[in-house]
């Protein structure tokens, strides 16, 4: 916008130009563009741009190559969204509540699994193990099928002893190849304590920990004989 030396005149011109953007003729022009699929109307451009960006990541491409279920794909994408907004606690809580309401506890766990970077870690492992594409598809399908039996997303309110008991029972009943304990922020220490307790009570598993300032992921890996 061209600036006038008179601040009042300049401000008035700015207001007039802003209104010009929403003049009836202009809105009719927008509608024409919209009908040709050349325009979309949103509140926050950032929300849709972020979603479009996530759809182009390699992590997303690998997931989509292996999982066809539409709901699972949406929960996966929302997990990436949660990861992208981790610095904004309120936005994160709002989205988690929406996921829970719309996709249930399983959907939220899938999203948290992705948010915490656990899926990405598994992909790294599969690549190291030099799996064939078919084997990898099978592993990924099983990973999401068994997410409730092989993962614990520790929350601040969780009791350390009770969580450890639950994990020990699951491991002793199903002997999973890998059991994952993860948590964000202030629960990192709780995750460590739970893993200590579990490792003390089970045998045949080794422990592998990934930690950043924001989160912790502890893999309990079955030792193959």
């Amino acid at each position: 916008m061209e600036m006038s030396s008179d601040p009042v005149e300049s401000a008035a011109k700015g207001v007039a130009e802003a209104f010009l953007d929403w003049a009836p003729e202009k809105i009719k022009e927008y509608v024409q563009k919209f009908r040709h699929k050349d325009l979309a109307f949103v509140q926050d451009v950032e929300t849709i741009e972020e979603a479009l960006k996530q759809r182009k990541t390699t992590e997303c491409a690998i997931f989509k190559q292996n999982i066809e279920d539409e709901n699972l794909r949406i929960c996966f994408l929302l997990g990436l969204t949660l990861r992208g907004m981790e610095s904004d606690k309120e936005k994160c809580i709002n989205l988690r509540n929406r996921i829970l309401k719309t996709h249930g506890a399983y959907g939220l766990h899938v999203a948290q699994f992705v948010q915490n970077g656990i899926f990405a870690k598994f992909i790294g492992r599969y690549l190291e193990e030099a799996l064939t594409p078919n084997q990898m598809k099978q592993e990924i399908e099983n990973l999401f099928k068994n997410i409730e039996l092989t993962n614990s997303f520790i929350q601040y309110v969780d009791d350390i002893g009770m969580e450890a008991n639950k994990i020990v029972t699951r491991i002793q009943s199903h002997a999973p190849k890998t059991y994952v304990i993860s948590g964000l922020g202030s629960v990192k220490e709780n995750c460590r304590e739970i893993a200590d307790e579990v490792m003390y009570r089970i045998s045949g598993y080794s422990r592998e920990t990934y930690e950043t300032e924001l989160k912790i992921i502890i893999f309990l890996n079955r030792i193959e004989s």
């Binding site: 802003a18 929403w22 009836p24 809105i27 009719k28 927008y30 509608v31 563009k33 919209f34 009908r35 699929k37 050349d38 325009l39 979309a40 109307f41 949103v42 509140q43 926050d44 451009v45 929300t47 849709i48 741009e49 972020e50 979603a51 479009l52 759809r55 539409e70 794909r73 949406i74 994408l77 929302l78 969204t81 907004m85 709002n94 989205l95 929406r98 996921i99 309401k101 719309t102």
Partner: protein
């Protein structure tokens, strides 16, 4: 490429005019369909508010502008938004 236009600062009267041009209307708070009933967000099943609506191309889908609805829309109609 589909242009993404923010209507966050669009005056309410202009938002209503835009909706009317597209065959919808508003009671000043919610978006209404041709029958005068509240439009529900397809993915959250909640009424769409004028203050937080997103209008997406294809079959003129009006949603609440939140990450869950937007991600769900893109998963269902991804090719409608042509991104760079």
């Amino acid at each position: 490429m589909t242009e993404i236009l923010s209507i966050k600062n669009m005056p309410v009267s202009c938002k209503i005019f835009l909706l009317q041009e597209l065959g919808f209307s508003s009671d000043g708070t919610f978006v209404l369909d041709k029958k005068g009933e509240r439009v529900l967000d397809k993915y959250t099943n909640e009424p769409v508010r004028l203050a937080n609506m997103a209008i997406l191309p294809g079959s003129t889908i009006i949603l609440d502008d939140n990450p869950l609805s937007i991600a769900s829309f893109l998963e269902e109609y991804g090719d409608v938004i042509r991104s760079s």
